[in-house]
Symmetry: C2
Subunit: 367 residues, 2 copies
Amino acid sequence: MVPLRVKEVRMATMHDVARRARVSVSTVSYVLTGTRPISEATRTRVLEAMAELGYQPNAMARGLASRRSRIVGLLMPMDERGLGATETAFVTGAAAAASAAGYHLVLSPVGAADPDVVRRLATQGMFDGVVLMEVQVDDGRVAALQEAGLPLVLIGRTGDTTGLSYVDIDFEQTVHEAVDHLVGLGHRRIVYVNHSASAIAAGYGPAVRTRDAFVAAMARHRLEPVMIASEDSAAGGRAALSAAVAQVPDLTAVLAMNESAIFGILGELAVRGRAVPGDVSVVSMVTSPQVAELVHPALTALTSPGAALGRIAMEALLRQLEGAAGQNHQQLLPCVLEIRGSTGPAAPPVGGAGGGAEPAGADPPDR
Amino acid sequence: MVPLRVKEVRMATMHDVARRARVSVSTVSYVLTGTRPISEATRTRVLEAMAELGYQPNAMARGLASRRSRIVGLLMPMDERGLGATETAFVTGAAAAASAAGYHLVLSPVGAADPDVVRRLATQGMFDGVVLMEVQVDDGRVAALQEAGLPLVLIGRTGDTTGLSYVDIDFEQTVHEAVDHLVGLGHRRIVYVNHSASAIAAGYGPAVRTRDAFVAAMARHRLEPVMIASEDSAAGGRAALSAAVAQVPDLTAVLAMNESAIFGILGELAVRGRAVPGDVSVVSMVTSPQVAELVHPALTALTSPGAALGRIAMEALLRQLEGAAGQNHQQLLPCVLEIRGSTGPAAPPVGGAGGGAEPAGADPPDR
DNA sequence: CTGAAAGCGCTAACAC
DNA sequence: GTGTTAGCGCTTTCAG
């Protein structure tokens, strides 16, 4: 059997290049980094030598000497159930941006629960900076990273964001837009299906912020906000819809932000014989077009700027690394409303008798 | 404005630890690596010193000196449309395995088209080894990696796999199982909806292998194999189903391997009034349970061992790195058949008009 | 069982 | 413009 050949080839070093080009190592280095002027003649000689030797600078050596690894970290919790489409988009967006700038992107699974792991990563000197995903409202990892003095950009945000850079979805705006869309169609009894109760309790930003925004948006229309927490699964969605109907039997619209539950919601509506959008309108927030198009009718959705978020966060981080001022980058991106087939005018109330087909006269809300 | 503080804290070095523990640097190093026996007394002193100083070994320095970065790469094409659930699972599985073994995982977007980028990555000395995803049947990146002498494990496989390590889905087995399941239910006119024609032409392994396996499986049952290529989107799936019906008007089963198209297929079936599974049975191959559960009835599917593939590939790579023999790891994992609601007995052939309006017996909406 | 010292391949003063 | 050289923080001989 042929023994495995590992690194049997000795790589050309800067020394080799220098000798071949008849210059000193520093000259080679300066050609590479452009840190000081080099005459066109020698630069050419050096470049030729490099090409001939197939020279590639050694990343570790360079990192050690320059104290800049050109590696950035993407820190994210990765539980067994995997990533949703939106989170996956963060990753690919960030990876593309890093790669385009000549940086390497290390994916580190780090639960929100262990700031110590983060601290260890931060002090290993491997990362020039990090992007932290799935930030909790109160997140120990942020402090750990800051103490280590590591440049940091969040996707999502903590409760107090002073001195922090972040990019996040504008949940307030998103929820308001969703609610306005439904109310504009005449809906009054709207139920919001949020993430799980435990996620809310844990201070998961999207869940908390949309909850508050929903309450505010409904209040603005003098409507009563009803929210149901749902596990992130089709089964959870079915249960949530059942709970919603139990609580508001004559609901005409469901607002959801739960890419997994949404399908359960639709399934349960179908089982109960409630047509979408004839009887019940459905809006899905923070959803990718791919997912929205999966069902029939396609979902009216607030499309999450997934890849853009990842890209922008990474670009902000890299700008920070490339010197520049220590300006904090704080940015909220709205989800854009894309109206598809799952929303329509509110059905007249089925309340007492089939009665008044009046489509939503100015109906003074309950209370 | 406050200037950005970056790495303002000087990290403790091995030297500091050595001084504090009153030993030499080498002793500290050996305590860390365990490469030679150290008396219990000094080891304790050293460990204490480390703890007191909050010492963390510098990854770059260690990498340079030992010529082992403890970084592995995950090379994957990342086009705009993002990753499917299965590919995402590869990534998370691999990341978890690497992290558990104390390795860092670098995500590198590398199209199958540019082996030069791969060559550059390979010779930078940043990676101890790499896992290559989305391998084409004839893939220039593999050769580039091998020439660089970099330990390598594929997820997927090339046409000729001699001397290569890989983990892949057993497509032959998977297709046969799917076809047998349908044939066992009495289906004869089965159409296979594959990936896009361009993917097949490009030699995308899963598309090519399932095509061949489908032909073989149908032949074994003396049935005629009809395959339709489909774009990876709901719209593509709708078009594919239309094409399928045009070609085989009385088809009773659709086999698909296209997580995106499958929803279009189901949608178009609904539009055409063909009940699932009453009129048409649907089997989805290489699909995650989450996706299968999304629709109603839930999809009978061949569940892809997504995260397991990523994990196993990474573990094989790490084993290779941790010395051991240069044994090639070649392994095929089957997808396991999970029968859900989308398959049932074949409907009797419809004579003239198209429309067995009978809802085909009791169809209790499970759960 | 422990130390001293020679690099790993590169960057960045410091010279000229 | 270019060369010399002292590190970067660690691993790993080579000596005891």
